[in-house]
Amino acid sequence: MADQEERVPVMQQVLDNHFLLLFLGITIPTVIYVLWGVMEVANIAVAR
């Protein structure tokens, strides 16, 4: 079948790559939510 020879689209390959998804699902919230948030709190100035 012709279908068998056709390359699998990149996005489908991404969605089939479970460990890539795991990496993204951990990294994105860790950076955008946890690290950014903690950095902001760490940088709060001291009251005079």
Binding site: L15, I32, Y33
Partner: protein
Amino acid sequence: MATTYRICPRSGLQFDTAAEKLMRWNAVAGVLALLLGGIMALGVILTRWPAVHLLPADQFYLALTSHGVNMLLFWIIFFEMAVLYFASSTLLHCRLATPKIAWAGFWLMAIGAVMTNVAIFQGESSVMFTSYVPMQAKPHFYLGLILFAVGALIGCFVFLGTLVVAKAEKTYEGSIPLVTFGALTAAIIAIFTIASGAVILIPTLLWSLGYIREIDTIMYRIVWWAMGHSSQQINVSAHVAVWYAVAAIVFGAKPMSEKVSRSAFFLYILFLQLASAHHLLSDPGVGSEWKVVNTSYFMYFAVLASMIHGMTVPGAIEQAQRAKGYNKGLFEWLRKAPWGNPAFSSMFLSLVGFGFLGGISGVMMGTEQLNLLIHNTIYVPGHFHATVVIGTTLAFMGLTYFLVPVLFRREVLFPGFAKLQPYLFGLSMYAVALVMMGAGTLGVSRRHWDMAFAGAGMAYEWPGAAYLMMGLTGIAGVVAIIGGGGWILQIVFSLLFGKRLDEGETRSTPIPLTLPPQTGAHAAHVGTPGTMVLALVFLVSFILYYFVNWKYLSSLWGMA
């Protein structure tokens, strides 16, 4: 020990016998947590019902702590472990990776759950589910939660390991089923959740033991909510997967589009967890940029995903029903749905309630400025009783009606009650969520023993409508507890005394999943106009409610 497989004669599903046992034990442990949490719910609701005001303050806060922990963590995560094992080994027709390690995970979870409950019932650990520092619980309160989290983490890795096994042993071809993909989404979010929980609870444990002097309160809230909120995002992914599964089981429904549904889950993986920021919108210390980016799941991409699932699940059902000939008008497919089948009625009530009540309220209160209107009011529990109870618990209850004969090989007792139960529990929970949100809109606090402020020097008097709403919360809550308690009794009785069903064939090699031959052209395309109409009704309600709240906000004291 060699792996054996059982073919269920009722569903045609194939179970790895080791995995099957794990599913059963996890599901039962979950139901026990639900039972305890439900008893606590009765104490909570009867105290918040102003005319009853049952428990003294200390017992109320103890009951509330236990209710929160058992419902939001133990019941749901135990059940989710069962869902993960089902979605991997059963749906992929393969053996479960390392069942022994999975058992170690289960026992860690069980020991942890018991330990935390012991700490709560000893008193002195009534710190609520959130255990905000610097209020301190006993060390074994935190230790129990940590053990539970580690056990659940092990379960997630067993799930991922099973995906690897299935791929290596080629038990399926192409991509994993959509439901398994949804379970994968849940597992990924769970790993982030549990890791965050460990990151914050381990220092908190050390602090309660006296090794650490102080824990920063804002940082605690940031990292704790990466667990506390994300754990509810595991639920969202898991119950959406269950919706797809029930649609497939009951109707043989095929996803409208694999691409769309999987992309929607992909958006969950990327952005859903950012919503932990919903809890910090009225906090000092984190800036507006952080709040806006995180609270909106980047740019409402996870809301977009939920709106997609909200359409594609009923859409798939509509297509399946229309293909069967229920083609009259816009809604014959829905009218002729099996409303007496509790698996379906639970799933549909779950879907509608999650969207209309939980979804709309969640987005409203997750808006940075609008959050000022409801932060820490009883609106918040109103919202999450719509998402977690109507969305998740009801969906899981519905799935259990299917699992009792298939997984536990028992006939469901009291089928007449089973027909009614989803409506009794579901609709009363709709009412609970609505009146709690009503009271919250009037400002009534959550986690508050006495809205009459007995003993306060400068008591505030809530408007009569707030008392009315809280009274209705009590009444609807009691009905819901009857509905939920009835379900527990029914399931427990069925498991103990239901007629034993045929086990089916047990074999030592799995039957690989085979796909039917590909058809060149797609089957005749069926449209989904009925679902579209429902979706538009949803959208209009959403827009109206959203802007009504902006209008309300604009009338308040100026703040900058």
